[in-house]
Amino acid sequence: VLLAATSHHWYQISWVDWTTIVGVLLALIGLFLTWRQAKNAANSAEAAKQAVSNTEQRIRLNQLMVLIPQLRWIANELDNAISTEDGSLVRRQLESWRWQAGNIHGMLESVDPNQAKLLRDLQQSVGLARAASSTLMAKVGSVNSECAKVRASIVIASDELNIWLGKSSTQAQDGRDS
């Protein structure tokens, strides 16, 4: 009889119990909202990080768009110096090539590290420029004959850089348009 008198159905609970249940529900909703907010913040931070990275890449690409034509200009000046057999001017242009190519190499490695062949060809031109400079110091033969290989290497690297620049600038433009 006592048992029957004290037993209740689940919905026959006091207002205190209801308060507890509502409290738990509110706590769960609060937890969910906090989690969603934290997730959004993390996504925003990731998006901001990605945006900064993209901007850095674009800045480097813009710098390369300025520097690569300068490299082309050095190659042309080198040609002129070779054709006039001006050994000291050739050496100066080879020095300029080495330093400018070194700068471009660093940026290119950062913007597009997958360009192993292009990086290797650029490095080869730098190494050959060093070798040709030393040979010119010794003044063994004609300027033209002492610069044939470095000249060919510079043409290859320069052409590859221009092709890469064309592709990359088009892709960057597509990225901005889309």
Partner: protein, 131 residues
């Protein structure tokens, strides 16, 4: 400043380059100096040069250069005298550098292939220098 570690690094590099060149895993290229050869990676190059001094002794210099073409380390053949006025004797790395220079030259100028081709043309088959 202690220069010993750099020497050891270059000796190790020379040994490894020799091994890889002989196994045709590394390809050298000629430079505008007929006695100098180059091998380039993506951010560095190695140059090996041979010169003959006024006494007729052959010197070989191995240089490691960075992406600007600046030399960051080098190793060269050495000739020492044990006593003043005594005879010159070759340093411990001379043989290694000499072998590397010949291997680099062989790779850059395709010497083995050229010899093989000419022997084929005259009807003699050569394998590893033996007929």
């Amino acid at each position: 400043m202690d220069f010993e570690p750099q020497d050891q690094v270059m000796i190790d590099l020379a040994s490894d380059l020799l091994k890889q060149t002989e196994e045709e895993k590394v390809s050298w290229s000629p430079t505008d100096d007929a006695d100098q050869y180059i091998f380039s990676a993506t951010s560095s190059s190695v140059l090996i040069k041979s010169t003959v001094d006024h006494d007729g002794d052959r010197h070989v210099d191995l240089s490691l250069v960075n992406r600007n073409g600046s030399e960051v380390a080098s190793l060269g053949t050495q000739f020492n005298r044990e006593e003043p006025g005594g005879p010159w004797t070759g340093g411990p790395n001379n043989k290694l550098l000499g072998r590397l220079y010949l291997a680099a030259r062989n790779s850059a100028l395709s010497v083995s292939d050229t010899l093989k081709d000419i022997y084929n043309a005259i009807g003699i088959e050569k394998t590893n220098g033996q007929s």
